[in-house]
């Protein structure tokens, strides 16, 4: 379990992480979201013990990262932003080095290295210098390094950044397949990734948590939750027909395509029946009719711009 009570990190005048509190339990895959500069990476650097917290603390399975750093770091695997590694070493040499630092010796080390090379598909570049590898391979070397000791806690800072769609899929599968008693924290700004792999998401802005919940819960908080989108076959103004209908909020027409309408729900209640009744009664020229579950992207924009304006 990662416990973070009232964590703050200040650089001179600038507060990067502002009184952040959360816990992550075994089995959770936590997506860490936020605009650039929101404090995602800084928080991860503090959790992994690279930076010391200005106030508050971080404990990993009861080990305080500042008081028992070696124990806490032994439990953790970390892929730093940009996946840094020693460029003049070959993939194999580098992973051997990591295995040794992680306490494996001899045959056991060789077995671990072979395992992670297989896991992230690095066999073809095992004897190549890391400097000569493509961005995708470098990222995978970083991942291999992070999962070397089958860590209880895995912290991945933008693990799929710079990967092609196939590689992204592969990394997501890898994260999903990690044993169920592990803790995974990934930062990303690819929101589809959160719905794809995370069991929980935290959105932070200006160093503070602005939303926390399962991806479905967060989607439900979006303004688009239960909204109805309609595509018409010919121009027709829906607004007059919907005026006064119960539960219906704003009706907006897509400024770029006059055939597209979005009908928002007022209290996030389903307005499917109400809208379809009106549509039938007034015989709208409907081409497509969708009910929205809500979008993380919409919530993300709402909560992060609000926090920015404050």
């Amino acid at each position: 379990m990662i416990e973070i009570p009232n964590l703050s990190k200040r650089f001179d005048q600038f507060t990067a992480v502002d009184d952040l509190s959360f816990t992550v339990k075994e089995g959770e895959v936590l997506g860490f979201l936020g605009p650039n500069g929101a404090g995602k990476s800084t928080t991860m650097k503090v959790i992994t013990g690279f930076l010391a917290p200005s106030s508050g603390k971080v404990t990993i399975d009861g080990f305080d990262i500042t008081e028992s750093p070696i124990e806490a770091k032994s439990l953790t695997g970390y892929l730093p932003e940009g996946a840094p590694s020693y460029g003049d070493m070959t993939t194999l040499d580098f992973l051997n080095f990591i295995a040794e630092v992680r306490g494996y010796r001899g045959e056991e080390a060789a077995k671990r290295v072979a395992h992670v090379i297989n896991e992230v598909a690095l066999t073809s570049v095992a004897h190549q210098t890391i400097d000569t590898l493509s961005k995708g391979f470098k990222r995978r070397v970083g991942l291999a390094q992070a999962i070397m000791h089958d860590p209880k806690v895995l912290i991945l800072d933008e693990p799929t950044d710079g990967l092609d769609p196939n590689q992204k899929h592969h990394v997501r599968e890898l994260i999903k397949n990690l044993a169920k008693d592990k803790i995974v924290v990934i930062s990303t700004h690819i929101l589809e990734e959160v719905s794809a792999v995370c069991t929980r998401a935290i959105i932070i802005a200006n160093g503070k948590i602005v939303a926390d919940g399962t991806p479905a819960e967060l989607e439900a908080q979006s303004r688009l939750h239960n909204a109805v989108t309609i595509k018409l076959t010919k121009a027709y103004d829906l607004r007059n027909d919907l005026a006064g209908v119960d539960g219906i909020g704003e009706v907006s027409q897509d400024p770029e395509d006059e055939l597209f309408y979005t009908i928002f729900s007022r209290q996030a209640k389903s307005i499917f029946n109400e809208v379809s009744e009106v549509a039938r009664a007034k015989q709208w020229p409907i081409d497509e009719f969708h009910l929205n579950r809500g979008q993380l992207e919409d919530l993300f924009r709402t909560v992060t711009t609000q926090a920015g304006a404050r």
Partner: protein, 244 residues
């Protein structure tokens, strides 16, 4: 093998994975040859000792050693690998000492490869080999002193060229501290204690006595404490600046 040993091994391997180690060794050997035979007048002196060889070492180290020390930490910070290293279960002290020892081992290897000159002098005459061994040890200790300064300067900046220039400058100060040029510049009213303390900090003072075969525990202790102090300073600087 503890983490110190693992880091030492990785660093030393990485010197030899790039041309750096080979270039360093070759240039070191060539310069030594030029200094000893050309400028030092090894043959002309007609004496079977290695004084002309060793007396140029402080000046040779002044430029060669900072060149290997400059990347020690500056590159780790520039490429971001410091974040990787510092989040592995490795103590900072192990990382600082491991890296230092690897660089020191490289200078040791280069120094050891000057052995033909030792064979030559034994072939030509009958030198005091005890003095020569002491001088080799002194030279290596002095290289360690230069390296420890370089480690700290390298930790101060992400830019290895800046680290090089800073290291050369500071090393230069420590080299000339004990030399008459600087000591003569002190005004007469300066208490002798201060002048002595100043000259006691100079590399030449300690190196000269060791290279003449006087293995004084105080000279050895000077270099040991000097290296320890600069490495401690390196650790403090890394801790302070690693995030920038």
């Amino acid at each position: 093998m503890g983490n110190l040993g693992i880091i030492f091994k990785r660093e030393l391997m990485s010197y030899f994975a790039t041309p750096l180690a080979y270039i360093f060794i070759v240039i070191f050997l060539i310069s030594n040859g030029i200094f000893t035979f050309d400028l030092g007048g090894f043959y002309l002196r007609g004496q079977a000792d290695l004084l002309p060889f060793f007396s140029f070492h402080p000046w040779l180290y002044l430029f060669m050693v900072p060149a290997i020390a400059m990347t020690l930490w500056a590159d780790e910070r520039k490429t971001g690998t410091i974040e990787l290293l510092m989040t592995l279960p490795v103590r900072l002290a192990d990382a600082v000492v491991g890296k230092f020892l690897a660089a020191w081992a490289l200078t040791g290897i280069a120094l050891a490869l000057t052995f033909p000159i030792w064979i030559t002098v034994n072939y030509l005459g009958d030198p005091d080999n005890g003095v020569i061994i002491a001088a080799y040890l002194g030279s290596w200790l002095m290289a360690g002193g230069f390296l420890a300064i370089g480690s700290c300067m390298s930790a101060c900046t992400k830019n290895s060229v800046i680290a090089f220039i800073l290291t050369v400058s500071i090393c230069f100060v420590f080299v000339i501290m004990g030399s008459p040029i600087l000591l003569d510049a002190f005004p007469d009213w300066m208490p002798q204690v201060i002048v002595d303390a100043f000259s006691a900090m100079g590399f030449l003072t300690h190196f000269d006595s060791i290279s003449k075969g006087v293995l004084d525990i105080r000279d050895m202790l000077f270099f040991a404490v000097f290296i320890g102090a600069w490495l401690t300073a390196s650790a403090v600087v890394i801790e302070m600046k690693k995030a920038n």
